[in-house]
Symmetry: C2
Subunit: 347 residues, 2 copies
């Protein structure tokens, strides 16, 4: 008993097949950069400071890195993250490693660029807790004189500390966080020993089983589309399996929460497989703890298939081969709070 | 109207004068290392991972670095720090830069070594929230397979993941966090241009005013004493000034909370001046926001003196010269939570 695939889903499927099915390739070593936000060494360094600075949150305790931890493969390995005042988020924090390659950001694709994405957590009441859309974040940064100096150096002008420039700097730093040279990339580049036989069997299986129909391209997240054009699929597509209830996969209606378009109910931005072995727990609600179980869930909910244990093991071996080299990051020095006048708890 | 100095305080004063008054020197570039905890490259790296790992706290959100931030000169620039469940600590978080040189740790000197100190926040219900003195911290670490492998490599044995080894590794990393080569150090080493005339006047003033009677030695924190032998002074010694009430300096009884010895009431471990310009706000309760005000408070409460504005400016210029070179620290990669089985919120 199969559930009908909704028309929108079929449309997206045909895009996938037309443009890039099975055209998996090497992870690029350069990222797309917006015309109005060129990457410079000083901007990247400023963005790194801001990324690690907990003073950008209402309580002064939560930084971008708290949930998207550079030291933990870009995640916090929790189902949901804890923001200011111990409040819990409602979707699993995705890694920002390789997010520079995504055509949209967030599970529901509600931001087109890394710049737009960075505004989200800053202004989210259960994340960093600042006032969404206001310049409260910029006002906080302005209280730290070292930042004023650095923003002037990077952006010029007399009043460069704006929310737009804050997120431009953060996005520039994030664009350095890519992970090339995985065993799979070396394999594609000709090193046939880079994948062991289990991983090679896994690669054949994800092709023959239909996984790559959606998880196509170098990122394994669908066709390469213009920035802002997300590739979405319905999840779960098939509900005739025990996983849907067990992992509560229908509770969150996905992209509908962003668009309020009924056709977007349970549609989700297709996630990259890059470094997937390091980013447990899985899915938008972080309900699945292990990668083998995530593979079983996807086979059942998206392909209406039941894999054997051997098949699961082989697919996981292949997914393991998508773990790339994470860049070495030197810790920034955060500009000091001038004379202790910033006492975030008092905000 | 002067308050009587209590006998214990006089005794400590005489030690200071006998052993090292006015013998300010260059910050050493090597630290004392306990015989049973030699520093090795792998142990330092393991300690760095543990230092930055929020999974060592009950909620999985607070690491050593949350309050003693390597990127913020070892502090969080807040009066009190926020631990698990948004709970607030009761004393200002001291920097761990150069703490390896201290003869005791904590404001009240209740730990002799960095190893003992590290156990404190882990087991403090308003800091990292683990069960004090139990092996709960070690049990948490054991849930992360990568740590088991690394502990075996560093410490050997079949069950090396113990609380004692956790803090040994953390202390080894902390012993790398020293800040030599301040302008003052270069000045003492013969570069007479390293201090400008204001800073040089400030140096003369801290000598002639009596500040160095207690703030002696290369750390400006008193005589070099054997590890475990702290140098304590009464603060405030003089209460005939407006600061005692304004900054609520009598509310916390200091070392008495650790010893319950009446002679220890309002006794505090004398704090180092190294990097003091970067560690606002000041004093055990973080009540004083600026360094000039901290200088005025100390002159009044410890020397019964009122400084002119010019004197304060010069002393601050000298204190600024005690900011050393902070080491460049590369971010560790934290071993992953195996298959998402560590879900701290569920603890």
């Amino acid at each position: 008993m199969k559930n009908p695939i909704i028309p929108f889903s079929i449309a997206m499927l045909s895009i996938a097949i037309t443009y890039s099915a099975f055209s998996q390739g090497v992870l690029p070593t350069t990222v797309p950069v917006p015309k109005d936000n060129s990457m410079t060494a000083t901007k990247i360094e400023l963005g790194k400071q801001l990324y690690f600075d907990p003073r950008l949150s209402l309580t002064g305790t939560v930084s971008c890195n708290s949930c998207h931890n550079v030291m933990s493969n870009g995640t916090d390995n929790r189902p949901f993250s804890e923001g200011v005042h111990g409040k819990m988020g409602g979707r699993n924090a995705p890694t920002m490693f390789n997010a520079a390659f995504h055509s949209v950001q967030f599970w529901d694709g509600r931001a087109a660029t890394l710049e737009d994405q960075a505004k989200g957590p800053l202004g989210n009441p259960v994340e960093m807790g600042m006032s969404n859309g206001s310049e409260q974040e910029a006002d906080r940064v302005k209280q730290i004189p070292g930042y004023i100096t650095e923003f002037k150096k990077v952006f010029g002008g007399s009043d460069p500390v704006t929310l737009d420039n804050v997120v431009k700097a953060i996005a520039s730093f994030e664009r350095t966080l890519i992970t090339p040279d995985s065993p799979y990339d070396r394999f594609v580049n000709g090193d046939k020993k880079a994948l062991d036989s289990a991983a090679q069997r896994g690669l054949s299986l994800v092709k023959s089983s239909g996984c790559l129909t959606c998880h196509s391209g170098a990122l394994f997240d669908g066709p390469q589309l213009p920035i802002g054009t997300g590739f979405y699929m319905k999840f779960p597509t098939y509900t005739n399996n025990p996983y849907v209830k067990k992992y509560d996969l229908m509770a969150d209606v996905g992209r509908y929460t962003a668009t309020h378009n009924p056709a977007d109910k349970h549609m989700w931005h297709v996630q990259s497989w890059r470094n997937i072995a390091l980013t447990a727990p899985y899915f938008h609600n972080g309900s699945v703890k292990t990668l083998p179980e995530a593979v079983r869930v996807m086979a059942a909910t998206q392909l209406d298939k039941k894999l054997t244990d051997e098949q699961v093991t082989d697919i996981v071996a292949f997914l393991d081969s998508l773990t790339g080299e994470h860049p070495k990051v030197t810790m920034p020095t955060l500009p000091e709070t001038l004379n202790g006048t910033l006492t975030p708890r008092a905000q």
